[in-house]
Subunit: 345 residues, 2 copies
């Protein structure tokens, strides 16, 4: 509050008068208002948001919490920047600013979020990388902070969520591969307790069972969602006595490392093994081209923002039709990588 | 302050007592302190940082302002996530949290920053994408907010900065290409008033002049720093009556679109034109391999963080040797893309 006191002293008026003038209240003499605004401009006075948010209870900032660290992001991010773009398109209409809360993979996400909440600088939050059980959901629900999760979790506080349709991806991948004669099908899941891993594995298991097949535990590969993780899967798969004839990769970036491991061993996707993955900007560069599931990240960002705002009293009336929960479809893009057909055994 | 008032009412003690107990002051009865802490835990009370930062003047948050929007980031980011990683490694030692301030390319960066500053939630700032003249520097200097810029600018408030050695890149590229017989050399610069464009163009001009050559204005291509920008450069270059025999690409991602445009026209880097660019994770995928300038983004992040902290009174003693200004070297990695030699004309 140092700034406002200096202004008051300089103008020889009370602090209250300066405050009222700066806040556009009617009970200030017009000439005084002009003098105050002029002096504020001259001295570069900016209202301190710490004081403001105590009074108004809003900061007009929304935080988007993402995981960082090379273990997660590998050599960059090709997902969140596009999602941010969609989110910002919606927030701009309401003069809301988006900040990314960068939680290092070295940190406990709940402790990180507890600190961010204590700092009280966001009016609402978007959480990503939801875990099977996610204490962050409970934390925000208790604190009464509006939030939406990108991803589901078993921790249920009635929160709004959007999630990619991993069930749909599992079902179509398995049906497609089985129709092409595959019986030994490998799948991948995240290295951590990400909820999507559980959903994906379960639906793959069910889809295989519907064809009279069993998901073999040693054909479920865990990996970090980056190139290095994909390379390791490739090496591990090639080392198996009885190799699978097909694999479904759950993350975008692992296809790149997986291709590299195969290539080093002279094994070719599409000719020697069927591969289905997720779309990324890198998919163009892969040869043979990757059969993959694609979605509009920008549109996902728009929907995330709308769902969050529909849960905030100030903005809800703008988004009466935004669904509180939504499975986001992914589209299968044909490539060459799953052209390989297994011989009936 | 709602939380603390509720606690006081519930415990039937004064707000001051609750506050003193929560802040670990000695002038509180031990039994009262226990009751307060227990109730705080039970009701999930978290001290509101808005109140706290007014008293303590610190938030332990550092903001890193980056530009977003597809026009800038194209299909993702392969630069900042790695820089963030290095920054966070240093900040973690001091319990500082990094947040990314995402300024959409649709917005005026100075207005955006003015708002962020008004919200007062960061103890320090890192600015990127510095422009030739950058009003953000003046703004932060006037507000007395510690900051460092990634990139130089003519706007001089004595601020600390780190920048990539674009002079070195210009000099070695030109020397190398001239040594291989090139006389018609094209270069690229950013679409906007980014300071690095001025530095790069000027040094290329000087380096050419030292060889008795002239930088031709129609061989300076402007583009957004993404794949689409590179594609457009490729198209424009191919449409010239008299094509250059070599080109130096200033941004990472433009090589990808540039290669694509050449490939569509049956023109091959390394065989038909010499190309030098910047390293990115995508460089692996380019064929023929790209001769490019590379740097450790993680180490750059570490240095940025140290330079910022060395300018903050609380942390300066930890980093007595951090230089306030620093040109960060880039290493030339040999590839096949500049193997083409021009015939002496």
């Amino acid at each position: 509050m140092k700034g406002i006191r200096h202004l008051a002293e300089h103008l020889d008026v009370s602090i209250g008068t300066v405050s009222r003038a700066l806040n556009g209240r009617p009970d200030v003499n017009e000439e005084t208002r002009k003098r105050v605004l002029e002096a504020a401009r001259k001295f570069g006075y900016v209202p301190n948001q710490s004081g403001r948010s105590l009074r108004q209870g809003t900061t007009n900032i929304i935080g988007f919490m993402i995981q960082t660290g090379t273990e997660i992001t590998g050599q960059g991010d090709t997902f969140f920047m596009s999602v941010f773009d969609g989110v910002q398109e919606v927030f701009a209409r309401h003069k809301l600013d988006l900040v990314a809360l960068l939680c290092s993979s070295q940190e406990d996400p709940t402790e990180y979020l507890r600190r961010a909440v204590a700092r009280g600088f966001a009016d609402g939050l978007i959480l990503s990388a939801t875990q099977r059980h996610d204490a962050r959901v409970q934390l925000l629900a208790e604190r009464n902070i509006p939030f939406v999760t990108l991803g589901r979790t078993l921790t249920d506080a009635g929160q709004p969520w959007l999630d990619l349709d991993f069930e749909g991806m599992a079902q179509s991948s398995i049906d497609r591969l089985v129709a092409r004669g595959h019986r030994r099908i490998a799948i991948t899941r995240p290295h951590d307790d990400a909820n999507l891993g559980y959903i994906f594995v379960e639906r793959c298991r069910e889809a295989l069972a519907a064809h009279g097949l069993t998901l073999q535990e040693n054909l479920i590969f865990r990996s970090t969602p980056n190139e290095a993780g994909g390379y390791q899967i490739g090496r591990d798969l090639l080392a198996l006595d009885q190799r699978p004839t097909a694999i479904v990769l759950i993350n975008e970036m692992i296809a790149i490392g997986f291709y590299r491991a195969l290539s080093e061993a002279g094994v070719s996707p599409g000719s020697d093994i069927a591969v289905i993955g997720r779309h990324s900007p890198h998919a163009h560069f892969l040869s043979p081209s990757l059969t993959c599931f694609r979605l509009s990240l920008h549109d996902l960002g728009v929907a995330l923002a709308q769902t969050l705002l529909s849960s905030m009293p100030t903005f809800a009336h703008h988004y009466p039709d935004a669904p509180a929960n939504r499975l986001w479809p992914m589209e299968l893009v044909d490539g060459e990588s799953d052209a390989f057909r297994a011989r009936e055994s």
